[in-house]
């Protein structure tokens, strides 16, 4: 074939451009797509703020500045003061510590009890499984608030640890049920059977073989227990049944809401309310993210 000169051809097409295929690095935007970036940033901001409460606070959160009672937000008291002259801005950060740690402690207690109970129930034979699940369901059917009030009355002492304990031991039923159904699915997998045949103890099976397999599907529940525990704390403190007034938490700050409403001091209610709401929302959207991932996984099966 005779050599044809390239120049005899003309490149055609609208807006033709030379394309050189390049291995595209997924952009940061793309990688973060679908991830709750915004929530995580805000959450990190709040958590860091609470961790560095000592540095951020410009007043003593426990002190009463009697010359500055009921002041609206201003240059000295960024978020204003309450009816006894306490600085809301400083209280927010210290109170956040208590609220968030109550959330985390309750989450830890709920996870330990819920996962262990669920695993035992899932591994056990049908009769024991049924019994254990019925017990959990029955306990779950008693209104939570009622049980918590009863336990608080029995314990008597009210501080962050006992409050988390009480919220924890009354909040694990749903988690146990999910864990149990997950375990039921994988209990007859070869690796579990093999491990059991080889005489591996239950705790080890649970930690090495069961939990890694269902951890992604319970992440959503675990994360949302943080927010539900935090809101339970504020509910109880609001009702005056949670933390004593001298322990600052977002809940105990909100317990002044009634008084603030009567005194027309909106900042006393709105500011801790916003902090609590934003934090809870961020945690929920984080939980939602895990839930979405989880549902996708199932649809891929």
């Amino acid at each position: 074939m005779a050599k044809v000169e390239n120049s005899r051809f003309r490149k055609v097409g609208i807006g033709w451009k030379k394309v050189e295929p390049v291995a595209l690095k997924p952009s940061l935007k793309k990688r973060l797509k679908g991830k709750p970036v915004f929530s995580v940033i805000i959450l990190l901001f709040i958590v860091t703020g609470c961790l560095f409460a000592g540095q951020l606070a410009n007043h003593d959160p426990g002190s009463f500045y009697l010359q500055n009672v009921n002041e609206a937000p201003n240059a000295e008291f960024y978020f204003g003061t309450d009816s006894l002259g306490r600085d809301i801005y400083s209280m927010i950060w210290y109170g956040g510590r208590v609220s968030i740690s109550i959330g985390l402690m309750s989450m830890a207690i709920i996870s330990v009890i819920g996962i262990t109970y669920g695993c035992i129930s899932g591994i056990a034979n049908a009769k024991i499984d049924a019994l254990m699940m019925r017990i959990a369901e029955m306990a779950n059917s008693i209104p939570n608030l009622l049980v918590i009030l009863l336990l608080m009355a029995v314990i008597g002492k009210q501080d962050a640890v006992t409050l988390s304990f009480v919220i924890g031991i009354t909040g694990w039923f749903a988690l146990a049920r999910i864990v149990r159904s997950e375990v039921r699915q994988i209990r007859n997998s070869e690796y579990v059977l093999a491990a059991r045949r080889m005489g591996v103890g239950f705790p080890r099976i649970m930690i090495r073989h069961l939990i890694p397999n269902f951890v992604s599907s319970i992440m959503f529940v675990v994360v949302s227990t943080i927010s539900s525990s935090m809101s339970m704390e504020s509910t109880l403190s609001f009702l005056g049944l949670g933390l004593p007034v001298d322990v600052i938490s977002w809940g105990s700050m909100l317990s002044l809401a009634n008084r603030a409403l009567l005194l027309d001091t909106w900042w006393v209610i709105i500011i801790p309310g916003i902090f609590l709401l934003v934090t809870l929302n961020c945690i929920t959207s984080l939980g939602n993210f895990y839930r979405k991932g989880n549902t996708k996984r199932h649809s891929n099966l």
């Binding site: 010359q67 009816s83 009567l262």
Partner: protein
């Protein structure tokens, strides 16, 4: 679609249930009050709804600072607007100086609310209970120690003989008289009569709705003096201060005593009235000498006054509606001795005084003496917001000075739990002798077991001295003696801030009110209400 239908049915059922319950409520209230035939809207137009303290009994012998006993019962005497005793059930009296004998002539034709005739027997019976009944646990029995005998020569005459002159006796004759025919032979402390009282007073007890938290009173049409204008009084038992304020706002109550902050929030509102009374009601930290801590450290109570900035507390918690306190009777006509005001907020002086008393600051900044930390507990009822605030402020100021006062919030005072004190309130709005029962060793209202021989002497002398000037001297000396060795760290005297709806008229602020701003209804017969 199906879901929607189901939801709709559920809603409908719920509505039906709620309505039927409401209907039940209406029925039962109609049954118990057949006389009220007009519509319920008309009924309420002349009904005063008062949001008051919570009550468990209505008995003049047991409730010494409550509003209701004074409405339902009446005594031989009553206090007028200036706090002076004037005749009530009695129409005249004579006093024999030589024998210390009072002879009362009773009004004729007085009937108990149940229609029975009132007579001198009832008076004798009541004073017998007060002076002789060993089982009676009443805080006021010490007021009647001087009575030696009582007789009723006829149905309209009562003769009461004292062992010696008693300057406050005429005041104490104001105590409400109990009906003998309904209460004789029963345990006064626990009898059912305390919840279904029958008296001779301006208002009749109708019913006590414990579930709804209200006590209904109706005016006594057969009252022997001026019959009140307001037909009915509904006393709602709420102790929570913010609830009372909310009830006023929402129109559920027409009158309430509020703490000064809440009262202030109504000041700019035209549909309410603020009525500010003076009271003799102090707030302080009462130390319990029954507990070991104060038995060992009772000498270190007065010095605490130096560490507390009372002016700041008055300005902040009370919004300026009160005065800093230095003596329990400083607002009394016999009190107010400035030389008893020996403490001032001065941490330097506090430290010096503490050193003199032998206290040394430990490594944690809290004083110690004889191996014991300066730590004590004070109980406060959690619904009394003003007291909680005062306690918290005192605690934080004391902490800054090196004293650990721990505030314990309780729903009900627990006297057996071993708390070292409580945030107290007392008042001597009439005669200063009202504090005899609080401060004299072993007296009937001395629950904190305070004891000081000099105070005992002075208060006893004050009671038995006739000349006003001498009494004034005695009580002023009492103030200085007490200030040196107090049992109560006095913080402030409160104003009695009442808030009412606009249509309530006739409240008279000439009267100095007592504890819990009690006594506001002293002239309720003259009040009018236009809702």
């Amino acid at each position: 679609m199906k879901m929607k239908l189901k939801k709709g049915i559920c809603l409908l059922l719920a509505c039906v249930m709620v309505l039927s319950f409401a209907a039940c409520g209406n029925n039962s209230s109609n049954e118990s009050k057949p006389a009220a035939t007009s519509g319920s809207a008309d009924d309420l137009s002349n009904t005063l709804v008062y949001a008051g303290e919570s009550e468990s009994t209505i008995n003049p012998l047991l409730n010494s600072h409550d509003e209701l006993p004074d409405l339902i019962f009446s005594g031989l005497m009553k206090y007028d607007g200036n706090g002076k005793p004037v005749y009530d059930l009695a129409e005249s009296s004579t006093y024999d100086d030589a024998t210390y004998t009072y002879t009362f002539k009773l009004r004729k034709g007085i009937k108990w609310h149940d229609g029975t005739d009132f007579s001198a027997d009832d008076v004798l019976y009541t004073y017998n209970v007060l002076t002789k009944d060993e089982t009676l646990s009443s805080s006021i029995t010490s007021n009647y120690e001087d009575i030696v005998s009582m007789t009723a020569p006829d149905q309209n005459t009562v003769v009461i003989k004292l062992s010696q002159y008693d300057a406050a006796m005429m005041d104490y004759f104001t105590v409400g008289i109990l009906p003998k025919h309904l209460t004789e032979g029963q345990d006064i402390n626990t009898m059912a009569f305390n919840q279904t009282p029958v008296g001779t007073g301006r208002y009749k007890f109708v019913k006590w709705d414990t579930a709804g938290g209200m006590i209904v009173l109706e005016r006594n049409e057969d009252y022997y003096d001026k019959v009140p204008n307001i037909e009915r009084v509904i006393y709602k038992t709420v102790s929570n201060e913010s609830t009372k304020a909310t009830m006023l706002q929402s129109g559920e109550a027409d009158l309430a005593w509020l703490n000064s902050k809440y009262a202030d929030s109504f000041r700019k509102n035209d549909s309410y009235k603020n009525i500010d009374f003076k009271t003799a009601d102090y707030r302080g930290i009462s130390m319990d000498f029954g507990t070991e801590f104060w038995q060992n450290n009772g000498d270190s109570i007065g010095v605490l006054n130096d560490a507390i900035d009372k002016e700041a507390i008055v300005k902040s918690v009370l919004d300026g509606h009160g005065v800093a306190a230095y003596s329990p009777i400083q607002l009394n006509r016999f009190g107010g001795n400035k030389s008893a005001d020996i403490y001032s907020h001065d941490l330097q002086k506090f430290a010096e005084e503490m050193a003199k008393l032998g206290w040394v600051k430990g490594s944690d900044g809290i004083y110690e003496r004889n191996g014991e930390k300066f730590h004590f507990t004070v109980q406060v009822r959690d619904y009394e917001e003003e007291r909680v605030d005062i306690a918290n402020l005192c605690a934080s100021q004391l902490k800054a000075a090196g004293v650990d006062m721990e505030v314990k919030l309780v729903t009900k005072f627990d006297w057996d739990a071993g708390y070292n004190g409580f945030l107290s309130g007392y008042a001597a709005q009439f005669d200063p002798d009202m504090f005899y029962k609080n401060y004299v060793t072993g007296a009937s209202d001395n629950t904190m077991q305070y004891s000081n021989t000099r105070v005992d002497e002075l208060l006893t002398n004050g009671r038995h001295t006739k000349e006003e000037n001498k009494r004034k001297e005695i009580y002023q000396e009492f103030e200085t003696v007490y200030a040196e060795q107090p049992g109560v760290v006095l913080v402030a005297f409160l104003d009695g801030c009442y808030v009412s709806v606009k249509g309530l008229n006739g409240l008279d602020t000439t009267r100095v009110l007592g504890h819990h701003a009690v006594g506001v209804m002293w002239n309720i017969e003259n009040w009018t209400l236009n809702k």
